[in-house]
Symmetry: C2
Subunit: 622 residues, 2 copies
């Protein structure tokens, strides 16, 4: 899937009648602000772990301004409120916040101050900025702290004002934890822990605080269900040379998990005790943390107490991130199998939807997606979708974060493209795949764009490159055929994917512009990542073709170690959408070879003779 | 030309008889060290300005160990001496330092300490490290300072011990300065100075110390001849809001230059007064400097005096670097003309050398180069070569920094390739171009490698890319055809080029691996750079094809501003070396289009009917 978040619709129904509601909520918040002596109160979009997606419990910003987008920060003072969001959401935010009195600040537009600039310019000397330090990432909190102290502005971060006002707040997610077998993970917790402790040793550290949810799950071989579509556990891990303390909600534990933890020397501590526990801990030597993933509250607690104890702290990239990214042999073996099974399901779905539409069936984006979700759910080992299926017909597909719902969707007809971006987590792997499916006659532009998108996807997949290359070196291989005709897709080309974990993970990615240093990670054998170029023409059509690739060794010679990609995804490229006049012979060959491989790989998994016949036809040489 | 330095042979004759000589020089140095209380003395490869190339005056390291390579640092203690160099020079250094008693430290090899690690491990608490702070870049000097203070090691940087021992040291280069007209430069000194002062204003700085020689020349519109093949002046510039002080050797000045400086408000100060002048200056506010280009001595002088005066200093990238890199309209117009004239000369040379060899003439790499140099020197406006011509036949071309000399060279024969990398500075521009010339029958590998090198060169030249891309995004376009067959060239793909200045300049480059943040500069309209993929097969052959490209605007649409390249170089691709079986139709078309453009551009400049005929034949469609 692309690296945009999907929208959450939980609150949307209320939107059209709640301007007064929002104003009342803001009034209640302002009363609390007065009580605690807070002049400005800030609410970002984050959970306690700076996760990419967060549960409804954490949607305070949405509650106090109505804006439902996936990125936004609300700031409230006694007589003013402002909400900052990015270009994807300007229109939506304006609509959703109508009548609330909240001003929209369009991030990145000329003349629009950043939040920090706004606060620095508008807060008076000695005033107080408040926020719940548990949901503000340390890096962000520190930037407020450092800049605002120049005006003697104090920061009050120990109060969750939203929680005090928000009467019907959803509960903190609390779902059962389960244990994955060592056989399924390829490496036991003890082995992984030893590797982490090696890093601690190298960093001359006594302890290490791990806050990133998927990293904790990877390390412990435990899974949960506390973030929609991400099988993670709300938790923290505090590792010393001799002990491991895991902070979890005890209601999530069963006997098996308790026994597993006991056998593995994992001391269980209540999740909500994290701050008080860290406050009481007797720090010695250096404590490692990753400022990208630790909240401001946790950071301050560790830092202040370490300093008082004459101990130190050190910011590093969570070492678990790279360990997790390079899949081990067992994981790779399971992932390959799971992707083939998942590919077969999607291929059957493509046959089904094409046929249904040809036969005049009444289907819409939503019901089509439901059908696909059902097919996946019927597979043995299915756990959950890895993200809500994106099913977008014709011009709807030009909106990258479009989401069809039961109530709002488009009817499918026998023309144009249906874009389907979907995936699931199974015992043995997490999948992600996009195909753009021809439902009937196409325009010449649609064919041209599909053909060149396929060329780009395969040009990247067939790359042969020296060890040391990162995503920035390779991105242009996917983008070149589209750039050559003056078209760009406004997102990265690829993201890493977890093993029975999040569908987006780092540290690697394929992008031409760097977001931060984490994008610079060189590609390594065992990493898996998406390869998903696309074309998005507003009001016309949207095309994305996404395969997942695995990094494998190529030849090694005196010029160095070459790396290559191996396809994990085997779903046909749509021959109705390919026009040979846009192809070089080498590109025709690449498409033919891929489709041939798809046919060979999938045939044994398909029982229905009519689908077998269709697949052979669909994948035969152009 | 590639980004490797050429060797300097001045001292080579002595090498085989001087082991005793070197030992005596080291003894004399050690006596001075004792006199000044210095325990370890360090000599890098640099001039006072951290220039890429330096004059013989600065070759102290060479004088004290015999090693003539372009990169190396010699460290001497009472009873030990070590020389650090990189992989290009391991064999040469070993040979040249034989019998000197100096130990070779192979940089980058496993288990080999860096200089800093060596010093930290081997120096005793409280000892003294000495070096001439004028030839050590500030960044390097600071790294010694910061690390070694942990062992209370002192740094003595005000003594040039080499100078005290080296009796027959060559003189500091001192060559006449000349003024370029505003018409030739497109912008007057006053206009450029105003732009620099705008940056100072933005940085809230009172003064700015500029140490980089080509930047000083660019800014003042003055040129000199103090570095071989680089028309620069040994100088410093100290700019305030109201004044400009230029430090030069007065012997380099004539009346015209003096008058120009006076008219432009440039106060002239003797070059050797830089330290004492900076020591006496009354600092106010912030002084800007670029730590990449300032020597440790100059840095310490400015920093220490600023601090005493309650003033500040600020490290920035020299703003002149980017201003200089984006050529103005006049420069571009002149450069285009000069490159066409230079291309015609090289094309005539190619015709000549092919014909001479066919007719059995006796030629070698050196005499062929001399002939080409003579042809260039005969062009109106010729100033000097932009680097010594590289002329390498057959397997010699596989050595990237090979240099044929009058005494040591290979005879040319009617087979294989002659690689010629050459260029000159003319009134109106500095050129650089490489062609690999077929002298007779080729092996299939030679044809394959030539063909794919040409494909890579043109694939990069024909790129269509979004504004914001830098060299790391684009490099793979040149490298891909070679990587696909498991071949890499161990250098960057491209470097910036000066206007009547150095043949290598930043801040942009085309490389897949970053050397430092300066390589990250995005490409901008008006930048010019080389595009020079190659194949280097040890003992077999070397191929490089180098065109110079100019960045121009492509289309602008809702997806953004696209950029493209425009060729500056028009020299035929060698049809005898191209084998169509390695080409896609699109690539055949690209070669044909380029060669057609070459023919059309050059024909008007070629008078000889036989060369005209040959050129038409050479450039006709494959």
């Amino acid at each position: 899937m692309t690296m945009f978040r999907w929208k959450n619709d939980n609150l949307r129904e209320d939107i059209f009648l709640m301007n007064k509601v929002i104003q009342d909520r803001l009034s209640a918040l302002r009363e609390k602000m007065t009580t605690y002596g807070i002049d400005y109160y800030l609410m970002p979009t984050s959970d306690y772990h700076n996760s990419e997606y967060s549960a409804d419990f954490f949607k305070a910003r949405e509650y106090f301004c109505g804006f439902t987008g996936s990125n936004g920060t609300l700031v409230v003072s006694k007589d003013w409120a402002g909400m900052w969001t990015d270009g994807r959401y300007f229109i939506q935010a304006e609509r959703e916040m109508k009548g609330t009195g909240v001003t929209l600040y369009k991030m990145g537009e000329e003349g629009v101050p950043t939040i920090l600039e706004y606060l620095f310019d508008n807060m008076e000397n000695g005033q107080v900025l408040g926020f719940d330090g548990k949901v503000v990432p340390a890096r962000e909190g520190l930037s407020y702290e450092n800049k605002l102290k120049k005006k003697q502005i104090k920061i009050k971060f120990d109060k969750d004002l939203a929680g005090e006002v928000w009467a019907d707040r959803p509960a903190l997610p609390c779902n059962p934890i389960y244990v994955l077998s060592d056989e399924l993970c390829g490496k036991s917790f003890a082995e992984k822990l030893a590797e982490v402790r090696e890093v601690m040793e190298k960093e001359k550290a006594n302890s290490y605080l791990l806050c990133k949810l998927d990293d904790i799950c990877w390390l412990t071989n435990l899974r949960g269900n506390d973030v929609e579509c991400n099988p993670v556990i709300l938790s923290y891990l505090f590792i010393t040379k001799k002990s491991v303390s895991m902070f979890v909600q005890f209601d999530e534990l069963n006997d098996e998990v308790r026994a597993y933890c006991e056998n593995n020397g994992i001391e269980l501590v209540a999740y909500n005790r994290i701050i008080s526990w860290l406050d009481e801990y007797e720090y010695e030597g250096i404590t490692l943390y990753d400022e990208r993933n630790v909240s401001y509250s946790v950071y301050r607690t560790v830092k202040d107490n370490s300093e008082s104890a004459g101990a130190g702290i050190k910011n590093i990239y969570d070492p678990t991130e790279m360990m997790k990214a390079c899949k081990n042999e067992t994981e790779i073996k399971n992932i390959r199998e799971v992707y083939i099974k998942d590919s077969a399901v999607l291929t059957k779905f493509i046959y089904w939807v094409k046929n249904e539409i040809k036969n005049g069936a009444k289907l819409n984006e939503y019901t089509a997606a439901m059908h696909l979700d059902g097919m996946r759910a019927a597979l043995p080992g299915f756990i959950e979708l890895s993200f809500p299926t994106i099913s977008a017909y014709k011009d709807n597909a030009a909106m990258m974060h479009y989401e069809a719902t039961e109530d709002s969707n488009a009817e499918l007809a026998a023309e144009g493209f249906l874009l389907v971006d979907s995936g699931a987590t199974y015992m043995g792997g997490t999948t992600d795949v996009t195909r753009t499916i021809t439902l009937g006659p196409l325009t010449d532009d649609e064919k041209k764009h599909y053909t060149l998108t396929a060329v780009g996807m395969l040009q990247l997949a067939n790359a042969h490159f020296l060890e040391g290359c990162n995503g920035r070196n390779l991105d242009i291989l996917a983008r070149q055929p589209l750039w050559n005709i003056g078209i760009d897709y406004k997102c990265g080309t690829g993201h890493g994917i977890g093993y029975m974990l999040n569908v987006h993970e780092g540290p690697h990615s394929i992008r031409w512009k760097s977001r931060s240093s984490e994008d610079e990670a060189a590609l390594k054998v065992g990493m898996i990542m998406s390869d998903e170029p696309g074309v998005y023409i507003e009001g016309k059509h949207g095309i994305r073709i996404e395969n997942i690739l695995e990094v494998v060794n190529g030849e090694k010679n005196s010029d160095g170690q070459f790396l290559e990609f191996r396809h994990l995804t085997y779903v046909p490229l749509d021959r109705d959408a390919i026009d040979k006049k846009y192809l070089q012979p080498r590109e025709v060959k690449a498409i033919n070879e891929y489709n041939k491989l798809v046919c060979k790989t999938l045939l044994p998994l398909i029982e229905e003779p009519e689908i077998q016949e269709w697949l052979k036809e669909e994948t035969k040489a152009l």
